[in-house]
């Protein structure tokens, strides 16, 4: 077995993200069906990849019960019609589930255990509300192992504002507005649609329809409007529905392969994995997680923050992106950051989001050959951060 080989990101797709709830796009659609759609589209879009060459299917979900249970990586692979010889598993690191699916199979590829893998994530927060079925150990609170606010993500975001007093609600709202505007522009420019998988959605009342675009973005958002929203996590607080991601349903997936195998099969990879890292922080300020994970990933890669030309940061909350930017001395409106907008507008179906970041980075790389390195990073519940550094295979310097 080779001890290490280059790992590449070949292609990524996702379903349009829906708003959770009885009126949402996917109110009557199963979570596993979203994953199946993604897997089939990946296979269809990459005809050079014989399905039997897929060595693993790693699918993340935070709540692994019901239609997100039954070892969803395996059951979705079978239902998607992949050969039964293709194995699969389920994986969980809450919001960084899909990201961890990618890094896990990438580790396996680098070690030589796999040649090609599918990695992705799903969260149908309508069918599986955050925290469904959890049973926190009473010692967490009794022994003050974590603060009582640690399990309520909105509260951790308020805590983060406390830690960074310079990040005001106004700055957060401005960032949120920019996210909405960038998403609207990206849609208008046709940057998002190519990587969406249309999903047939059925409603007993409305009949069959077709989901072709994200449901959550609010193109007409204004600062004034954002200013009027309630702060449900604290009286006179800073976190609102407008400067946070929503409650969403969706699935993502991507093909990850050994660079040599991608060449052999004639696949067209878009990014090379440079390094990745996960790091832990105090759970009550989980939003700072990307800072130590990024520092570690940069160190492993032998790069500095200045080498990074594009950032895809998951916008669980505006404050958490701003904390990251402040730490690294990057301006709030730096054009390298989330150029197509982020989760505040697209939505954040927990375990699926990591691969959305990668899919967008891959497309941005294609348009920006002058950029060599990019980062995908996100904060994770229970106080973690995850970062993956990628090299642009379309980088002009290589030619």
């Amino acid at each position: 077995m080779p001890s290490s080989r280059d790992v590449v990101f070949v292609d990524g797709v996702r379903t349009p993200f829906g708003k959770s709830g009885p009126k949402g796009l996917y109110a009557e659609t199963r979570a596993d069906d979203l994953v199946i759609r993604v897997i089939r589209e990946l296979i269809r879009r990459n005809p050079n990849l014989p399905p039997e060459r897929v060595d693993e299917v790693a699918i993340a979900a935070t709540t692994q019960i019901g239609d997100q249970g039954l070892t969803i990586g395996r059951s979705a692979a079978v239902l998607a019609g992949l050969p039964k010889s293709v194995p699969g598993y389920a994986i969980d690191r809450m919001c960084a589930g899909a990201m961890t699916a990618v890094t896990s199979v990438a580790g396996g590829i680098a070690f030589g255990a796999y040649d090609v893998a599918i990695a992705g994530g799903v969260e149908h927060m309508g069918r599986h509300p955050m925290g469904e079925g959890v049973d926190p150990n009473p010692r967490f609170v009794a022994e003050q192992i974590v603060d009582g606010s640690a399990l309520v993500m909105g509260m951790t975001a308020e805590n983060l504002h406390d830690r960074y007093p310079t990040i005001t609600k106004d700055r957060a709202d401005a960032f949120a507005l920019a996210s909405q505007e960038k998403v609207a522009k990206a849609y208008a420019d046709g940057r998002i649609q190519p990587d969406l998988v249309p999903v047939a959605v059925r409603s007993a009342e409305k009949g069959w329809g077709l989901a072709t675009a994200d449901e959550a973005p609010r193109p007409g958002t204004t600062l004034e409007g954002l200013g009027t929203l309630k702060t449900p996590f604290r009286p006179h607080g800073r976190i609102t529905a407008g400067n946070a991601s929503g409650i969403n349903d969706g699935a993502t997936g991507c093909i990850v392969a050994a660079a040599d195998v991608a060449r052999e099969l004639g696949l067209a990879p878009k990014m090379r994995l440079v390094s990745y890292a996960f790091a832990g922080v105090d759970p009550e300020v989980m939003g700072v997680g990307p800072i130590p994970s990024t520092e570690r990933a940069l160190r492993l890669a032998g790069l500095s923050i200045d080498d990074i030309g594009l950032f895809e940061i998951n916008e669980a909350f505006a404050v958490q992106v701003l904390a990251f930017l402040e730490h690294f001395g990057i301006a709030d409106d730096d054009t390298r950051v989330n150029p197509y907008g982020g989760a505040i507008a697209f939505g954040h179906p927990l375990a699926s989001s990591g691969v959305r970041l990668m899919t967008q980075l891959a497309r941005e790389f294609g348009e920006r050959p002058e950029v060599r390195y990019g980062i995908t990073t996100m904060c994770v519940g229970m106080g973690m951060g995850g970062t993956v550094i990628w090299e642009n295979l379309a980088w002009e310097g290589a030619k």
Binding site: I36, R37, R40, L79, A80, G81, V197, P198, V199, A200, R202, A204, E205, K206, G207, W208, G209, L210, T212
Partner: protein, 690 residues
């Protein structure tokens, strides 16, 4: 129309729900109509006046729009639509109503093919009858490779696919394939085809897998609209259809001899489709539908369908299911062909160990080898996997002694049809089995009560009468003796259900139902021959009924020796009504397989044996005396309480003798032919309401 809506007061209305869909590649907006009756797939969507009106309103809503690129039709999950609501059809009492149903269907469906934009049917699930016709009216069709059933089953019931099916399908796929779907399959136990076959026949223009059928169908539709995919069609009207039609008519005559008008009408309509305009063709369908809806053959068909669909699943007189005992091992006494067939069936359906016993090791080996060979055949056809084949073979074993039955829960005998032999067998079995083990006999004519008279526990003896071939024939006559208790009977019904048989409870009476009626029926025909009626006259006297075979062909299938034996048993029980033909005894003595030679010509030696009668009857006289004999025998059986009702007689004759739907088994035919006085069934049951 309000008139016909009243007939369908209980209609589960299939709603046509319109929703706009943005097609990929900027191909524009499609108004997608979902057909959904609000229930899950266990209650498929059908069309009555309410459903047709809803679809009409949906088409109204899209027809006026100028912003649409296309219109689509799709079903609820797993079901496209399965045709007309037949419950109301049984209540139609006037021709005007019948005509209105046909016209309404046409008026609504044809609009799908006459819109200013192309229409697409996305056949996502079962599509039968009117459901398939909806799809045929559309400009294009896609089908899921996972669709389990595509069919035009109208002729099976006594109708024609009269909402456009006979006109559109032959033009789409050619008359030969169309006739297969419209006539051949319905008359072959209502065979259905799968999505893949439908695609191969050209019924659909494209096929996609079930996992993302609608998404891929919409993508394909977008490509068609953008001109990136072109659909090629053959103009079948340019060809000469006369030979195809003549061949089909020849086969129909062979099978039905003019009985049952529906397939003949369907054939005429298909023939018409080559030249008729849409208006002419649809009008001819309306007329055919009205005629057939006002005919008793269709009513008998609907009655029969209800019997096999409903009554067969809830057998009259069966005890509560909860009384049934678990069967984890089965014993079969005997290792002959019948016993081996039963062993295979028990092993396949119950998936429990089955032990055959016989006194002769060679016979035992042969019996087990037969089962293993049959399993290998199943494996060869891909009906079972290698592992399943190993499992089934391991389940069936042989034993020279009956000790092997010690832990069996159900032991059935298939030994020689002789009371003393069977009594001896059961005494031996009872010596080794548990007190609750059910003892079943496959006797076709012996008294169950007498058979159990020497048992310590006669309450556990039950009759379990299969029909040959065991694996194929769907009927099981379950016989209750005087002593049989409810737990035993419930177990017998539960086993019957597991074997996927339709069980009918029958009282312990000579030859039970099917053999008694067939013997009486053949007895009359044979007597007529004995009296001097030419064999060919007598054998074809009942052709007008459209039975699956003539009386002497049936005799040939059963074997004259078996036929003679049953007639002797019945003669002993009812000497007034069941004779024993001396000529039959001679035929058996001569070792003849029947009256026909292998080439189906009459065997001159057999003709000689049956000659000598001096008072011949006409065909009509033979027909009448035979029907009267059936009527009398059924009347007596109902008086004796052999079965609960005339419906059970009909169910037995449909499932056990293959008597056709258009006769309703037999009692609806005896009613409508004026033979039964008084009628067996109320007017309006299996007949047009007055």
């Amino acid at each position: 129309m309000s008139d016909i809506k009243e007939l369908f007061a209980d209609e589960v209305v299939t709603k046509a729900i319109v929703r706009d869909v943005e097609l990929p590649y900027g191909a524009g907006t499609m108004a997608l109509i979902t057909l959904d009756n609000g229930f899950d797939h266990t209650k498929p969507s059908t069309f009555g006046p309410g459903g047709l009106t809803s679809l009409n309103e949906a088409v109204d809503a899209v027809a006026g729009r100028t912003d649409l690129a296309a219109v689509g039709v799709v079903g609820k999950p797993f079901i496209f639509a399965v045709g007309a609501d037949l419950k109301g059809a049984a209540l139609v009492s006037e021709r005007e109503q019948a005509l209105a149903i046909g016209k309404l269907g046409h008026d609504v469906f044809r609009r799908l093919g006459e819109l200013p934009v192309p229409s697409f049917a996305f056949v996502n699930g079962a599509a039968m009858g009117g459901g398939l016709e909806v799809a045929l009216h559309c400009t294009y069709r896609t089908i899921s490779s996972g669709v389990p059933a595509v069919a035009l089953p109208e002729c099976f019931l006594g109708l024609v696919p009269g909402w456009g099916g006979t006109q559109l399908l032959p033009r789409l796929i050619g008359p030969e394939s169309a006739l297969k779907l419209i006539i051949e399959n319905p008359l072959a136990q209502n065979r259905m085809i799968k999505g893949r076959d439908a695609f191969k026949l050209g019924i659909a223009d494209a096929m996609f897998e079930g996992a993302d059928f609608l998404e891929e169908s919409l993508r394909w539709a977008a490509q068609v609209l953008r001109g990136e995919v072109t659909v090629s069609r053959t103009d079948h009207t340019a060809a000469d259809w006369s030979k195809t039609v003549a061949d089909a008519r020849f086969l129909l005559d062979m099978k039905l001899r003019g009985a049952n008008p529906a397939p003949y009408r369907a054939l005429e309509l298909v023939e018409l489709a080559r030249t008729a305009s849409r208006d002419e063709g649809f009008d001819a369908e309306d007329q055919a539908l009205a005629d057939l809806l006002m005919g008793d053959e269709l009513r008998a068909g609907l009655y029969s369908f209800d019997l096999v669909q409903r009554r067969a699943k809830r057998p009259a007189g069966a005890p509560d299911k909860s009384l049934a005992r678990k069967v984890t091992k089965v014993g079969v006494v005997g290792a002959g062909l019948m016993a081996s067939q039963m062993a295979l069936l028990f092993a396949r359906r119950l998936e429990v160990p089955v032990v055959l016993t016989d006194l002769d090791q060679a016979r035992l080996d042969k019996g087990v080898a037969y089962v293993h060979a049959e399993v290998d055949k199943l494996l060869g056809k891909g009906r079972v996997s290698g592992d399943q084949a190993n499992r089934l073979k391991a389940l069936v074993t042989g034993s020279l002694t009956k000790d092997a039955f010690a832990d069996a829960d159900f032991v059935i005998e298939a030994v020689f049809e002789d009371m003393k032999v069977k009594q001896k067998v059961f005494a031996e079995v009872e010596a080794v089995v548990s007190e609750t083990c059910v003892l079943a006999t496959n006797t076709s004519s012996l008294s169950l009560t007498e058979m159990g008279s020497e048992l310590k526990h006669p309450e556990r003896l039950v009759g379990f009468h299969f029909f040959n071939p065991v694996a194929v024939m769907p009927l099981l006559e379950i016989i209750r003796g005087h002593a049989t208790d409810d737990a035993t009977l419930a177990t017998a019904f539960a086993v019957g259900r597991s074997l996927k048989k339709s069980s009918v409870l029958v009282k312990d009476a000579p030859a039970f139902v099917v053999n008694r009626l067939l013997t009486r029926f053949m007895g009359e025909v044979i007597t007529a021959v004995d009296e001097g009626t030419p064999l060919e006259v007598a054998d074809h006297a009942l052709d007008g009924l459209g039975l699956p075979m003539t009386p002497f062909a049936l005799l040939q299938l059963v074997g004259p020796a078996v036929g003679l034996h049953v007639s002797e048993t019945l003669h002993a029980a009812f000497p007034d009504r069941f004779g024993v033909s001396q000529n039959m005894a001679e035929l058996v003595a001569a070792g003849k397989p029947g009256v026909y030679a292998p080439d189906f010509s009459l065997d001159p030696e057999a003709v000689a044996i049956f000659s000598g009668g001096t008072s011949p009857s006409t065909a009509e006289q033979v027909r009448e005396r035979t029907l009267r004999a059936l009527e009398q025998e059924i009347r007596i059986m109902l008086e004796e309480g052999v079965v609960a009702a005339a419906q059970d007689i009909d169910l037995c004759m449909i499932l056990g003798a293959g008597w056709p739907f258009h006769l309703g088994g037999i009692t609806p035919y005896l009613d409508r032919a004026g033979i039964a006085r008084p009628r067996f069934l109320e007017p309006g049951v299996a007949s047009v309401p007055a």
